[in-house]
Each structure stands twice: as C-alpha cells, then as structure tokens.
C-alpha cells in the first residue's frame, strides 16, 4: 500500500506571515482570556463560605444540670448566682454592671486537659470573658484529670441590661476556638434576680474549685 502524503519539508506554518497588527491582536486576546479566567475564578471563590464561617467552632448546646461535650472535657452548669460586689484577698471589687457567678462541674473526658476559654454570650451575640480582676482558679493552668470531676465557680461582669438572657460557653483553648468544640448552656436568670443582685451591698466570695463529692 502506498501513502501519497506530500513530503514534509518544514514545520513552519503555511500561509501569509502574521502582520504586526495581528500580533498585537493576539496579545490583546491573550490578556482578555487571562482577565476572563481571573474574573470567573473570583466569581466562584466569592460564592464560597468565608474563613470565619468555614472554620467556626462546633457549638454543643445543653441544658443546665446536664453534661455538655466540649471534646476534651464535659461542662455541667450546676447553679448561678450574682452580686454587685465580689471580694478576694485583694479586697472588694465593684462593677459598673453586675457580677454573674456560675458554678460548673468540669470533667476531662479521656486525657488530662485544661479549660482556657469561658465567656458569657448575650442575646445579641456580645461575649464577655471571665474576669481577670480576680484569680480564676478553675481556668487556664488547672489540669483536669479523667474521671476526677472538679466543681468550681467562674465570675463574669456583664451590663445589667443583658444579664437576664445570657449563656455560658467554655472551650479548651483560650485564644483560638476555630474548628473546636465549644460547650454552651443558657443560664436560668430572671430580671428580678438581676435587680436583686445589682442592689446587693454584701460582697460575695467566689468559691475555689474542689473535686466533686
């Protein structure tokens, strides 16, 4: 069988040479394609959830009196009380709002752990860290051992106007809760209790942690 293809003398393109105007057109066309590709890519990525949403914590909500799983430990809210003034070895500490003192039971789940993050969150999403004005013996630095639950109190300052609708959140890491579990329980506080606590003049001492009996 004979193939009658013409012999190949050159790999150069056939036809008339590309003019200067043609080369400019090719460059402009390339630029337009690149810009179009970038625009389409941007359109896709802008429709993806942002970093904040993608890496948000896994909030586990539970009721007062029930253990709530925070991955490395369980948090159980035991009770809540309040005050206008708290006291420690450095003397009394007043507040422009009201003190909310939450009694919790913390139990490491499988391995020794610490609890570094404790906030109250109000109905509008504002968060109030556990106060640094007194030593919070339950937070940051106390190691919880598995099967040895510890009870203790954590004190917060919040504005009086939000105190009757707050939840407590606790997590392992003090600064970064992204993609980690956060335990949350809504606190049973009434407006009447807030008014009573805000008007109280007797200083309250925040209880030190102790192994659960």
């Amino acid at each position: 069988m004979t193939i009658n293809n013409p012999p190949i003398y050159s790999h150069r393109r056939t036809g008339p040479p590309v003019t200067r105007l043609g080369r400019i057109g090719l460059r402009v066309g390339s630029a337009v394609l690149i810009i179009a590709t970038l625009a389409i890519g941007t359109a896709f990525t802008s429709r993806q959830p942002g970093t904040e949403a993608r890496e948000r914590p896994f909030t586990v909500v539970g009721n007062v009196g029930k253990p709530v799983n925070a991955r490395t430990f369980d948090m159980t809210v035991l009770s809540v009380r309040g005050a206008a003034i708290i006291t420690d070895t450095n003397g009394p500490h007043d507040t422009s709002g009201v003190w909310i003192i939450v009694r919790v039971r913390l139990a490491a789940r499988n391995a020794p752990t610490e609890v570094g993050y404790a906030v109250l969150v109000d109905a509008e999403g504002h968060t109030y860290r556990a106060t640094g004005r007194i030593d919070q013996m339950l937070l940051g630095g106390r190691t919880l051992e598995p099967d040895i639950p510890v009870d203790g109190e954590v004190a917060f300052e919040v504005p009086v106007s939000v105190a009757d609708d707050v939840s407590i959140r606790m997590a392992k890491d003090s600064d970064d809760q992204r993609m980690d579990a956060v335990a949350q329980s809504h606190l049973p506080i009434t407006s009447a209790q807030v008014a009573e606590w805000h008007a109280a003049t007797k200083p309250v001492t925040v209880a030190s942690p102790a192994v659960s009996q």
């Binding site: 890496e55 003397g91 504002h126 860290r129 106007s161």
Partner: protein, 194 residues
C-alpha cells in the same frame, strides 16, 4: 483600512502605542483632578474630656498624673515614679478585648522606660485590667515608669491609636488590625506623688 493600519503598526513601535495610551490616561485623570496636589493628612488635636472614636474603642482622656511607687505599684528602679494617663475607655466591638495596650502612647515625654504602657489599672479598685468588656466603659490608668533623672513635664502629648476592621491576610479572619494614629491630646500633668 486594515492595510493602512497594518502599515501604521509596522512603522510605529509597540512601546509608542503604550506611551500614547498612558498619556491619554493621564489626561483623563487630570480632567477629574487626578493630578491635583494632595494635602498631607493632619492628625486632629482633641481637648481632654472629648470622646475620640478610634474604631474598636472610644477614648476620653481625663488627665495625666505622676504617681509615686507608694501607691502600691512598685517601680523597677528606686526613686522612679509612674507617669499615668487617666482615660475612660469604651469597647465598641462585640467581644471582650485584651489589646488595650495599643490604645495610648506618649510623645515627647522623656525618661519613660517603655514605649507601650507597662501597667493598665482600673481606676475603681486599682486591679489590673485583663479584659475590657463591650458596653461597659471603664475609667483606667495607663502607666509608664519614668526615670527620676529627667525634668518633670508640665504638659504631655498623648497619642491615641485606633484600628481598622479588615481581613487578616494570614488566616483570612476578620479582625481589628493596622494600628494607626487617630488623635493627639495635650493635657496638663498633675503631680499626685504626695
């Protein structure tokens, strides 16, 4: 027409085209004041007692004062004293903040042993302010240790810093970043060492 364009394109180098486009762009920009001189940004001077909105916080400078170490704050060098800026600070964000050390700096005050305030105290009970809570303005003292070997100032220039809410280029989260000067406050220095 294409052939005449081709001839023109063959004669004129590509860079000339770019130059012509740039000149046209400048001309259009000039039409819309693009070439007008821009005045240098002036930092506003605010009187003590006035509220300064600096983004994540609102600051109202009350006064500045000298405090002795007998107030309970120990200085690292005997004989030194504390230079304090007393201000009311309000957290305007949604969360408790612990970056209050970025709020205030002092300008033209000699003998300070640090740039940032070394201690931030609550005025009500002199406890160290760990967190500033949203919606709970607090009167605080930003304090620096000042050497006793420098002449005591009668006035002080206080520089108030703010931050900008923007996306963090490292991790993509949105946060208050990029500290920048928002206002200057000049206040008399009260000697409260006795």
């Amino acid at each position: 027409m294409p052939s005449s364009l081709n001839r023109l394109a063959r004669k004129v180098p590509f860079r000339w085209f770019a130059g012509v486009v740039a000149v046209i762009g400048l001309g259009v920009s000039a039409l819309f004041h693009g070439l007008a001189p821009v005045a240098a940004a002036q930092t506003p001077t605010v009187a003590p007692g006035k509220v300064i909105d600096a983004g994540p916080w609102k600051v109202t400078v009350v006064d500045t004062r000298l405090l002795s170490s007998s107030t309970g704050l120990k200085t690292t060098t005997d004989g030194d004293h504390w230079f304090a800026v007393v201000a009311t600070v309000d957290d305007t964000t949604n969360d408790s903040r612990e970056d209050m050390g970025d709020i205030v700096r002092l300008s033209h005050v000699a003998g300070l042993t640090a740039v940032a305030p070394q201690v931030i105290l609550l005025a009500s009970d002199a406890t160290t302010l760990g967190y500033l809570n949203p919606g709970m303005p607090e009167r605080v003292a930003f304090a620096w240790e000042q050497s006793s070997k420098v002449p005591l100032p009668t006035t002080a220039q206080i520089v108030i810093y703010g931050k900008t809410l923007r996306e963090n280029s490292l991790d993509g989260t949105t946060d208050w970043l990029s500290p920048h000067v928002v206002a200057d406050v000049t206040a008399p220095v009260l000697d409260k060492r006795t």
